[in-house]
Symmetry: C2
Subunit: 445 residues, 2 copies
């Protein structure tokens, strides 16, 4: 305690400095800063108010679940005690009945009902979308300079998260069956030769209908990827971060080869992240992670510092939506709707893009995206003539080059991502036609 009378204030007083005072950001903020593709896109598109966005990763607007949400709210409100519980704080890990439902659904979807659902639910954390789980797991694993291996191309938002942490992303060659196991091993072998194997902490894989390509990892590669992670865990565990954001959005048949998580018999390698954002509502924003036991404490501790836990109200609401059967009914309807939108995009592509020499795409079996490869040498970047031309024709897209890690497989500037998530079938048709006009101009000699 200070002696009462002493006036340090006066003693040390100095004039306010005249020069502007510098903000001093953390190293992390500097790594995170300014480089967001979303911001850059917004800056480029602001001057064009009537664009058809084939870029935005939003979900279909018309099918957003108004009635299921009303029914679930009514069911909660019918029991004031339940409602009050939903309006109180919850726990950091999340609402137990929701975690149990998530765990039970995962075991059923993976065809491993013999596993202990109660034990799995104890390693299930409810998060703000799958994104928060990706952030928390990465925060707990990665020091600056640590390495994550990922597909080339991969989810650009996660590349931003890795940059924010000062981590290195290395892109691994991928084909129509997803990330190529042999290429993954080659990277690991190279890391070992270079004395960097100890820096490899994780392999990031979007198992179903990935963003940006709509490609799934084939059944036989799933076990191979987990096996590789385990075999190369020589200087410490190499985790597999499995992003299952699009699992429910499968449009052809109902075969599901099971998750990478299911291939991890020991339960010590795969971090499984899922979300109801795409399959139900991003505005309610409930995701989850099922994590190896040794990461549970660290991830919960990190989450405790970020937000104490996902809003309890939303967790109760989402649990009621699953319990009532409305979730399954909604996703069935959603699959029909997106299947039609996918058809609209593929038929527009066939009509408008097929005649343009050298433009290629593969039909996605699910998800929200179509990935285009343009003729070699034709850049789709934000600062390309093609992007400018697309804007003046009335549409825009995500340039594919943002989906490549800085290291590993080279960036392909002649790629772009289209989405059929939010635009209507008619907008898809008009947007693809506009893109085709821009492409024809850009291709013209």
């Amino acid at each position: 305690m200070l002696p009462g009378g002493k006036n340090v204030h006066t003693m040390l007083e100095q004039p306010h400095p005249q020069a502007p005072v510098r903000a001093r950001l953390s190293q992390r903020a500097a790594w995170a800063g300014g480089n967001s593709i979303i911001n850059a896109l917004m800056a480029r598109t602001l001057a064009h108010p009537n664009l058809i966005s084939l870029a935005a990763g939003f979900v279909d607007q018309e099918s957003l679940p108004v009635e299921p949400t009303q029914r679930a709210f009514a069911a909660m409100a019918a029991n004031p005690q339940h409602m009050r519980a939903a309006l109180q704080y919850g726990t950091t890990i999340g609402y137990p009945p929701l975690r149990e439902a998530i765990a039970a659904r995962l075991l059923a979807a993976d065809g491993v009902p013999e596993r202990d659902a109660a034990e799995v639910s104890q390693r299930t954390i409810v998060t703000a979308g799958s994104n928060e789980l990706l952030y928390l797991a990465s925060d707990c694993l990665l020091d600056p300079g640590d390495i994550v291996l990922c597909a080339a191309p991969t989810y650009f938002v996660y590349l931003g998260t890795l940059a924010n942490l000062g981590a290195r992303a290395i892109g691994v060659a991928s084909d129509a069956q997803g990330i190529i196991p042999e290429a993954l091993e080659e990277h690991l072998a190279r890391c070992q030769r270079d004395g960097e194997l100890a820096r490899v902490k994780a392999i990031y894989v979007t198992t179903w209908f990935d963003n940006p390509r709509g490609v799934s990892v084939s059944a036989d590669r799933r076990a191979a990827l987990v096996d590789i992670a385990k075999r190369w865990s020589r200087q410490g565990r190499i985790y597999v971060i499995e992003d299952a954001a699009y699992r429910e959005l499968q449009y052809d048949g109902s075969d599901d080869p099971g998750s990478l998580w299911a291939c991890d018999a020991e339960g010590d390698t795969v971090i499984h992240a899922g979300t109801f954002s795409k399959s139900f509502s991003p505005g309610i924003r409930i995701g989850w992670g099922v994590v190896p036991a040794d990461l549970l404490g660290p991830i919960l501790s990190a989450k405790g510092h970020v937000d104490f836990g996902t809003p309890n109200f939303n967790q109760h609401l989402m649990h009621e939506i699953i319990r009532s059967g409305d979730f399954d009914a909604h996703t069935a309807m959603l699959r029909d709707r997106y299947r039609a939108k996918r058809a609209a995009m593929l038929s527009a592509a066939e009509e408008h893009l097929r005649p343009i020499c050298g433009v290629r795409w593969a039909e996605p079996g699910g998800g929200l995206y179509l990935w285009l490869e343009l003729p070699d040498g034709l850049a789709a970047s934000l600062d390309s003539p093609l992007f400018d031309r697309a804007l003046s024709e009335g549409t825009f897209y995500i340039p594919g080059e943002h989906c490549y890690a800085a290291e590993g497989e080279p960036r392909h500037a002649n790629t772009l991502r289209l989405t059929f998530g939010i635009p209507s079938c008619e907008s898809i048709q008009r947007g693809v036609a506009a893109l085709a006009r821009a492409l024809r101009t850009a291709c013209a000699p």
Copy 2:
């Protein structure tokens, strides 16, 4: 692309390692890990199922706003287009009408209606409680070893966040008017003498009814604290992080001397964090920050990596609750209710604790906490005989020593925090009586 036939898999195959594989956590996870007072309390109290908790920072259960939430939901549901917008993704910064309402309310509460509410709303970010804002701002400002000055005692959860970032917290002497400006200057002068001024990035202040003491910063000290931060911003900006979590929970009169934020005429120094968790519902979990312009981009970028934005549904709901007048009506009711609980705790303290020689407390003008100082040398720590005795008498509390930074003002182990937030008036009465029995035993020679 790999040559098709090459089988690197076989070439490099090695047996799975037999020794258990180590998890390798990040430095941050190691800093965050294991040391949580909440976990320690849970571990200590698990074996006692019928305890009256005077520790949990939950809010009053019976007054949780069931009807206001139902009305707001009904208003949203009456307009399916509005409902669909709420169920879609929002922006990272938050729902504009909610941000405008928050900014307008801040200007009104601070008595500075002449400020530009639209401009302020552009620097207003909606977060998962005020806690997420504290985390994001700290993440953007603090590198390991950087310094935050805070009151002694201060909010223990924020001390955990600083530990997670590897930052240093230094406790500054505080009295019944809050953090002592002269003591703050002494610490800054000492940091300068030690060549550490450049590491001081922020001063953390809970302006109203702080956790754990229930003390507010007096009116004349408010301007002084902001002035000190500006004058000492010699080697870069020293921000004031103002935590206004309990502002609405004021029980005596309605005078409000205004925020630290209002003292920052230039708008470049104070980061103002607020929340509807205490004043409305922690289950809906909406908080906010009003931040200096040069921190807006970095904080949004960090938030983009964590969660893309606070759940849009909750933001629309909260906006409707404010718009309808239900928020103001609810907080008026809540103040009456907590005033009665405070009276219950003070009268129980008067009856049971006053007779115990050397136990002291000050009447909190608001908030949820009563801070007790025990006779010198009587420890209230988790491993103290007093804590054991309290458990066997049927109650527990937060040991005050967890509320002190590792540096600066020494920890006072003879302190503890009681809450009148969640227990009923009857439980408060019984809990305090139980604590008094434990204290009498612990004081007995």
